[in-house]
Each structure stands twice: as structure tokens, then as C-alpha cells.
């Protein structure tokens, strides 16, 4: 028998006897014969661990991790060694949603910690227990603005959002019946004038802006929340989580919903996932918030304990009236974030942004200094910036990749988006500059 199956022949015989059937196949006797698989699945035989390691060694050799100057939503920050060590503990990793709170306080406590940390980082009143990723969290935020407004189904999104996120928003909007309007960016920033005009029409459920935006620009949202609220429009600010350590938080800007991806808080790049979406709201919106949430309570002894709560909001009770079908969180990734932020603390989170920003500005200056690049938009940025190149961006990326460097993300044929984290050394940056000369 396979190493994952504990059944001995004798076990199977005894069990079949008790059930009162003759063979394993008899357990499927009620199934119409014509539905049953004829012959065997066309799959290879099971592999031993040694063989699996060989297969993965071959696949690994076909991948080439590159020194990463790409961002666009996924950032190469360092993952403290404590994180994978703890998250791999089977008590955390192999458990399911903490339905039985008495034996799930581990999961419940780290989610409560995560909620506390994300509420504080975003400056919002409450965080849910996480979403799949930044794009879907933003899509849920979009749907929330309509659900909260009850009658409106028009949502504005600034063209400064990551185009990949916009694609997901468009899909959700299309099927959910939301009239999503993308307000084109102006000079790489939200077009406040157009936005104001549209808001003034008085039928906008929500406005979604990004901070830092797709081009790495840190926008100034002064006055935006008031403008929204005057029109009973909800303001959604989306963005990567790490910069919240130094930037004015969505709460400070007056946003109603803060969302985005927290991958930048210590999660590996993992070829795009698993990441973790965060979604935090003002108190007024708690009951409209999708996803799981953990609350504090007491046990029979009066001890402080934690439990999944507010499940009345959830789809498994509301069913056909659901405005979200989310029924899990990104679980173990909350633990990644909780450990990361526990280790970094307020000082570390500022420092990681500071080093990243210094590196980015050093590299930006150096690249511009080659004469082949100019900064596309003259606006403040943190650790990501958009350059206009006098050559072909694809060719540059290809050339650098051959030297082991991921030069950045292509925006268009002559625009390159470059991100720099604390992990990049001066030597690596100088190598990129020399390749770009």
C-alpha cells in the first residue's frame, strides 16, 4: 500500500465485513455503470521521494531567480528566518479554519494580532482576517461601496492603479453589475479635476485611488476625502502595505476603506502567490465588510479568548443575498505578517522604507546619469519609480536577465518601472547601471 495510506489488507477485509460489502468497488455499487471510469486514468505511476526531488531539481534548473528590481505590486523585501520556521509548524500549517475555538486559539490569536496591526498601520478602525490578495481585496472594496450605498452602482477608479489590478476590478464589475469608470491618470497621478467633476454628479458609490500609485508616485490626497464624503461617496485607498510605515495612512487621509496587498511585509515573491490582501474599514462599514473576522470574548472561566465572530455577515448564512462569497482568509499568511511586524516593530518598518528609498533614489540618479533615462514624472517617490528609456525596454530587460538581473517591469515600449528594496546592494545597483549604459 502507498506510504500515505495506512490500510493493511486485513484492515480492509475487516472493515468491508462490518459494512457488509465484498469489495472496495462494491462501495460504489449504487453508481450507474455508464458513469464509471472505464480502464485506468492516463497518469504516470507514483513516484518516490528521491524521484520527486529529481523532478524538482530539473524544474528548478529551468528557473532562474534574478536579482530583483521589479515591483509593480510584488516586492523583494527580506523574510526573517523565524517566519518560515514558525509557519511550518504543523499545528498552524495543517489546521483548518478555527471553527472549534477551544483548540484553535493559536490561529485565532495570530489573526487577532494581525487585525490589530493592520488596523493600526492603515489608521482604520477594523481589519478583517485577510483576503486572497491585493487585487481581489480591492475588488471586494469596490463591491462594498455599492452595497453600502444601497442604490448606487457607479464606481470610479483612478488610472494610477496597477493595470493588473484594474483588470481584476473590471472583471468583477462586469459580472457584479457595477459601472466602473477608470479615470485616466494625468502626469502619472490621479486626475483630480476629472474626478471632482464625476464626483459632483452625485451618483458615485466609491472612488478608488492608489498610494503609492502604479508609477511609484506618492500622491497628495489632501481634500479628497471631504470631496467624496460631501457626495456620500466612499473613498478607497489601495496600495502595498510596507510603505504605510512612513506614509500618511488611509485613515489619516480620511478614507473609508483601506485595502491592498501585504506581500511587502515579509512574504516571499513566490512567483505571484500566495500573497495576502488586507481590507480595513471605518467602524460604520463593519457589517458590510466581507471575509472572516476574529473577535475577543471570554471562556467559561472568564479568561480572555478569541473566536470567529460576526458570522451573520457571511455568505453561509446570507446565501443568495450575498455581496461577497469569501469564506476563508489567507490564513497562514496572516501569521507571516504578524511575525514580520512583531520582529520589525515601528523602528524596523521605518528603517526598511528608509533604506529602500535611499537605494531607489541612488539608483534612479545613477540611471538618469547614464543619459539614457529620464524620470518620467517629476513627483515624489519612495522605492519605485518610472523611467523613460531611449531604447527598447524589452531588449533592456532581456539583456539584463541574461546577466542575472531583473531590471524592472515594462510599462510600455519605452517606459520601465524600477523598484528597489533594502536587499539590493550597491554592487547590484551599479551592475544594473553598467548594463544599462
Amino acid at each position: 500500500m502507498h506510504r500515505y495510506f495506512p490500510h493493511t489488507d486485513e484492515d480492509i477485509r475487516q472493515m468491508l465485513d462490518l459494512i457488509g460489502v465484498k469489495s472496495l468497488d462494491d462501495l460504489f455499487a449504487e453508481i450507474p455503470e455508464e458513469l464509471k471510469l472505464k480502464g485506468e486514468l492516463n497518469l504516470p505511476e507514483g513516484k518516490s521521494e528521491a524521484e520527486i526531488r529529481s523532478i524538482f531539481a530539473r524544474l528548478s534548473a529551468m528557473n532562474k531567480p534574478l536579482t530583483c528590481f521589479a515591483g509593480a505590486g510584488a516586492y523583494d523585501h527580506y523574510t526573517p528566518s523565524v517566519i518560515p520556521y514558525i509557519t511550518s509548524r504543523s499545528e498552524f500549517l495543517t489546521s483548518y479554519t478555527p471553527y472549534q475555538a477551544e483548540i484553535s486559539q493559536g490561529t485565532l490569536m495570530y489573526i487577532f494580532e494581525y487585525q490589530t496591526m493592520m488596523s493600526n498601520l492603515t489608521g482604520m478602525d477594523v481589519s478583517n482576517a485577510s483576503m486572497y490578495d491585493g487585487a481581489t481585496a480591492t475588488a471586494e472594496a469596490m463591491m462594498m461601496t455599492c452595497a453600502a450605498s444601497k442604490k448606487r452602482n457607479r464606481v470610479l477608479a483612478s488610472g494610477t492603479l496597477n493595470p493588473a489590478v484594474l483588470d481584476v476590478l473590471k472583471t468583477y464589475a462586469h459580472f457584479h453589475g457595477i459601472n466602473l469608470e477608470i479615470v485616466p491618470a494625468k502626469d502619472g497621478q490621479s486626475d483630480r479635476k476629472s474626478i471632482s467633476a464625476k464626483l459632483a454628479e452625485g451618483d458615485v458609490a466609491g472612488l478608488i485611488v492608489a498610494q503609492p500609485n502604479y508609477y511609484g508616485i506618492v500622491e497628495d490626497f489632501t481634500g479628497l476625502a471631504d470631496e467624496c464624503h460631501t457626495q456620500k461617496t466612499l473613498l478607497v485607498i489601495t496600495g502595498p502595505a510596507s510603505p504605510l510605515g512612513v506614509l500618511k495612512s488611509p485613515g489619516e487621509w480620511g478614507a473609508d476603506i483601506a485595502c491592498g496587498d501585504a506581500q511587502s511585509l515579509g512574504l516571499p515573491l513566490n512567483y505571484g502567490g500566495p500573497y495576502i490582501g488586507y481590507l480595513c474599514v471605518k467602524s460604520a462599514l463593519i457589517r458590510k465588510m466581507p471575509g472572516r473576522i476574529v473577535g475577543q470574548t471570554e471562556d467559561t472561566e472568564g479568561k480572555r479568548t478569541f473566536v470567529l465572530t460576526m458570522q451573520a455577515r457571511e455568505q453561509h448564512i446570507r446565501r443568495e443575498k450575498a455581496t461577497s462569497n469569501i469564506c476563508t482568509a489567507q490564513g497562514i499568511m496572516c501569521l507571516y505578517v504578524a511575525i514580520y511586524l512583531s520582529l520589525m516593530g515601528p523602528k524596523g518598518l521605518v528603517e526598511v522604507n528608509d533604506i529602500s528609498m535611499k537605494n531607489a533614489h541612488y539608483l534612479c540618479d545613477a540611471l538618469v546619469g547614464t543619459g539614457h533615462f529620464k524620470l518620467t514624472y517629476d513627483a515624489p517617490f519612495l522605492n519605485e519609480f518610472c523611467l523613460t528609456y531611449d531604447g527598447d525596454v524589452d531588449a533592456l530587460i532581456k539583456k539584463c536577465a541574461e546577466e542575472g538581473i531583473l531590471a524592472g517591469v515594462k510599462v510600455d515600449n519605452n517606459k520601465l518601472l524600477v523598484a528597489v528594496t533594502e536587499q539590493r546592494t550597491k554592487a547590484e545597483m551599479d551592475l544594473l547601471v553598467s548594463l544599462a549604459k
Partner: protein, 489 residues
């Protein structure tokens, strides 16, 4: 070691991080315009590395995982999560890849995605899969978007309804609602399967499709599925298979062969990727021939020269994710699929079914079995039998919740309770194929012991759990107090 939150272990001035020395002289955060700088304080913990390691290590000891013991949580397919899957998923040649790297530098990653697609197609009898959806519910939503796109592209805009059985997983109607459909519920017969006579009048040219899981949430195989599929197809709708209960069907029946057009698979159930305390999961969606073009972007294709590319297709429903979903989960699933192979996949469902029937037959003397007969991977009791304290007419009867809490005291996770909604005291038990007869025998003995105690020592049973890290929780207080974050004051 239960009690403190990391915030309560924090002391000003402690640090647990390490950052490289900045090697360059350049503009730092202080130079950002004042208007965009954060002014409120960061209430994050300040702790050294050991304090953090200890805190979370001790916290883990208040948790129960599959490696801790038997986890018969119905509908969740809690099977053993092999360690080799974690080993390969941690390979830097996968974890260090940026999602926007040039294809030439990620050929191994793309091949893996492609191979998983192909294997899932073979197992399910469908034509092609996307692995992008992040979870089962996300897969459902994606699948429904495919169905809606199919109708829309045919110009058939009037199909706005989705039929869902009353025993369905709660996500089914919710996903349909999010996708913009109206939900029509079809009743169950007394044996728990879809009532075909109730179905027929619901069918018409406003029906986009029907969602089913087979075996259904009671663990009963819907033997009338060929008829149902024919009826739905005849009225112009598509059949959606909720893959949550795929496990017992492995190598026995394929959803494609049952007449389903679209389905999702929960890799974290059927293919043993870890549940992670509730995520990340992965919900690949497969379609029958003719629907491939609607699968979401981006897609992985194999080129004529054997290399792989990422493409976007204008016919697609759009994107449901920026990249390739929870890619790290696919890596684990691939290792599992390779480990099992043909013979292993062929045995998994049979043994899971054997285990479920063994428990069912062993315990129906003590627990009320509302629907008799062969079950598949799971089955539902309607609480304790009346003679064991389960008489619903008795206000003080021992409830399913209380049975569940007693199981915790005996070192078992509890089954799913109060689902499906068809029974008052539903207790839904799913023992997967990785559980041994010895474990099942211990579970059966404990379940009988609880039943006998419920009869003989009701007060004790009703006040369980007694031996867990914390006592029974006050759910009502949690709702009333609505405390969702630590109060730093």
C-alpha cells in the same frame, strides 16, 4: 502558556529585525513632503527574536492540526499533508521568482503549471483548466463567470438564474449572487438527493445553469445525475460541479463523464495542500471542450518547440487574479499528484469511502442516521439517538455542539456541525483515506463513550470541554462587545 498577545510582550527599545547597512548616500524618508508623511504613531510590537519565536511557538501549542490527531471535519477533506510537498515548495528556484520575470527565466515554473492542468483534466474528464483562482469559492465564482460569459457571447442575455440544491454548500448561492445571478433553489427528496420532479418545472430559457456537488453534502451519490444533466442541457443551461466532494470520485467517476461542463477543484482538500488555518487554498477551474476560450487570463500555453509562454486571450472572461493564483500551492499539489500517481489516485477515494462507511455503520447504533445506505467520503448524523440523550423534544437534550466539545476533550477534532441545514443536529463526519483503522476504532469508541455519558452523566457532557487550553467560549459576548483589535490604552 496561554494568554498574552505579542503587544503585551512588547517593550520600548527592543528590536527583532536586522537590516543591511545602507551603502549609499541618497534621499531618505525624511525628505518626503510633510503632507504625505505619516504623523500617527505605529503601535507595532517591539520584541527581540527569541521573544517572538517563543510567543508563536507556544501559541502553536494551543492549536490542533492534522499532525496532532484525527480531524474528521466534514466537507473539508482533512488528509495528511506530506512533508515532501513543503520541501519542494520551499525551493528558492520557485520562491524567489518575481511574477513578472521574462518567460525564458521561469520555464520550470510554467511547465509545472501546465502539467498540473493536464493531470487535473485527466482526473476530471474535462478539457482544460485554469489554476488561477485563489480558493474554492473563488473557483466557483470563476466557473460561474465562465457560464455567464458563454451565454453572453452567444447573445443569450436572458439567462439570469442559477439552480442550486437546498443541500448545497453555502458558497454556491453566494458565488452565484456575486456573479450577478439570481438563485433558484431545488428541493431534496427524503433520501437527500436532488428531487428531479421539483427540478423540472424550474427549467426554462432563463436558466444559465445548475450547481451541484456529487456526492452531495450528505455524502450521497446523486444517481440521477445523467437525467439531471440531460434536463439542464436540454433547456440550454450548463452544469457546474462543485469539486468540494471530489475526493471519493478519484479514479471512480469523472465529473466530465457525469455531464458537467464546468467545475472547480479544491487543491487544499482533494490534493492535500495544507489548509493553513483557513488559507491559502487554490481552486482550479476546468471546462469541457468548447469553453476553453473563456478561461481567465493569464494562461500558460505550450509552444510548438516545447517551451511555455504566458498569454492573454481576448475571448477570456477577463482576469480574476493578477498572476497565476496561489502559485506556491500548485507546487505542493504537483508533488502530491506525482507521489500518488495513477494507483494512488485510484485508491484514495476508495479508502476514504471505506473509512466513512465503516464509521457510519459502527456508530448508527448510538447516533441518528437520517439517511441509510452507502455513503461516499462523508455522511451526516442528526445528533445522538433519543435513547442516548438526543431526543429533540427534550429541552435539555445533548446537542451536537456538546458532542463536538466532548470530542475535543478526547484529543479529536470535531466533525462539522449544523451543516447541512437539512437536519437540526447535523454532525457531518469525513474521515479521509490517510486515517488508519486503529484511529477510526479509537474515534468510534470515544463517540460511543460520549453517547453513553450523554445518557448517564448528562451534566458533565453538557459542560465540555474540560481539558482544552481554554474553556467553552462565549460567542454572544464576542458579537456584543465587537472587539476586533487590541486596545493599547
Amino acid at each position: 502558556f496561554y494568554g498574552k498577545l505579542i503587544f503585551e510582550l512588547s517593550r520600548t527599545g527592543r528590536t527583532g529585525y536586522s537590516l543591511p547597512t545602507c551603502e549609499v548616500e541618497a534621499t531618505g524618508c525624511e525628505s518626503l513632503p510633510a503632507s504625505v508623511k505619516r504623523t500617527t504613531s505605529l503601535h507595532l510590537p517591539e520584541a527581540d527574536e527569541q521573544t517572538v519565536a517563543r510567543h508563536y511557538t507556544n501559541m502553536s501549542n494551543n492549536n490542533f492540526g492534522v499532525d496532532t490527531g484525527f480531524y474528521p471535519l466534514g466537507s473539508c477533506t482533512m488528509k495528511y499533508n506530506p512533508k515532501i510537498n513543503e520541501e519542494v515548495a520551499a525551493l528558492p528556484a520557485f520562491t524567489a521568482l518575481h511574477p513578472l520575470q521574462p518567460s525564458a527565466s521561469v520555464q520550470g515554473a510554467l511547465e509545472l503549471y501546465y502539467e498540473v492542468q493536464k493531470i487535473l483534466s485527466e482526473i476530471s474528464g474535462l478539457s482544460e483548466f485554469t489554476l488561477n483562482p485563489f480558493a474554492g469559492a473563488h473557483g466557483e465564482l470563476t466557473g460561474l463567470m465562465i457560464i455567464r460569459t458563454y451565454h453572453q457571447r452567444r447573445g443569450d442575455e436572458k439567462r439570469t438564474k442559477i439552480i442550486v440544491p437546498d443541500s448545497a454548500h453555502g458558497t454556491n448561492p453566494a458565488s452565484a449572487a456575486v456573479c450577478g445571478f439570481q438563485i433558484v433553489e431545488v428541493k431534496s427528496t427524503p433520501d437527500g438527493t436532488v428531487d428531479v420532479e421539483d427540478l423540472k418545472p424550474l427549467l426554462g430559457d432563463d436558466i444559465a445553469g445548475m450547481m451541484m456537488t456529487n456526492p452531495n453534502t450528505l455524502g450521497i451519490f446523486e444517481t440521477k445525475i445523467p437525467d439531471i444533466a440531460r434536463l439542464v442541457h436540454d433547456c440550454g443551461g450548463l452544469m457546474y460541479y462543485d469539486g468540494a466532494n471530489l475526493n471519493p470520485m478519484l479514479g471512480v467517476c469523472r465529473p466530465g463523464d457525469m455531464g458537467f461542463d464546468v467545475m472547480h477543484i479544491n487543491l487544499h482538500k482533494t490534493f492535500s495542500t495544507p489548509h493553513g488555518g483557513g488559507g491559502p487554498g487554490s481552486g482550479p477551474v476546468g471546462v469541457r471542450q468548447g469553453l476553453e476560450a473563456y478561461l481567465p487570463n493569464p494562461r500558460v500555453v505550450k509552444n510548438a518547440d516545447g517551451s511555455f509562454s504566458l498569454t492573454k486571450n481576448g475571448e477570456a472572461l477577463g482576469s480574476v487574479s493578477c498572476y497565476l493564483g496561489n502559485y506556491g500551492i500548485l507546487v505542493r499539489a504537483y508533488a502530491y499528484l506525482l507521489s500518488l500517481g495513477r494507483d494512488g489516485i485510484n485508491m484514495a477515494g476508495r479508502l476514504a469511502t471505506l473509512n466513512a462507511n465503516y464509521i457510519k455503520e459502527s456508530l448508527k447504533s448510538h447516533y441518528l442516521l437520517p439517511i441509510d445506505g452507502l455513503c461516499k467520503h462523508e455522511f451526516v448524523f442528526d445528533g445522538l439517538r433519543p435513547e442516548y440523550g438526543g431526543d429533540h423534544h427534550d429541552d435539555g437534550h445533548v446537542t451536537t455542539l456538546e458532542v463536538a466539545k466532548n470530542l475535543l476533550d478526547h484529543g479529536f477534532h470535531a466533525p462539522t456541525i449544523y451543516f447541512p441545514l437539512l437536519f437540526h443536529e447535523a454532525l457531518m463526519i469525513e474521515p479521509t483515506e490517510t486515517e488508519s483503522k486503529d484511529t477510526l476504532d479509537e474515534f468510534i469508541a470515544v463517540m460511543k463513550e460520549i453517547a453513553e455519558e450523554a445518557r448517564d452523566n448528562r451534566e458533565y457532557v453538557k459542560s465540555a470541554p474540560h481539558h482544552t487550553p481554554v474553556g467553552r467560549l462565549d460567542d454572544v459576548k464576542a458579537v456584543k462587545d465587537a472587539i476586533f483589535k487590541y486596545d493599547f490604552n
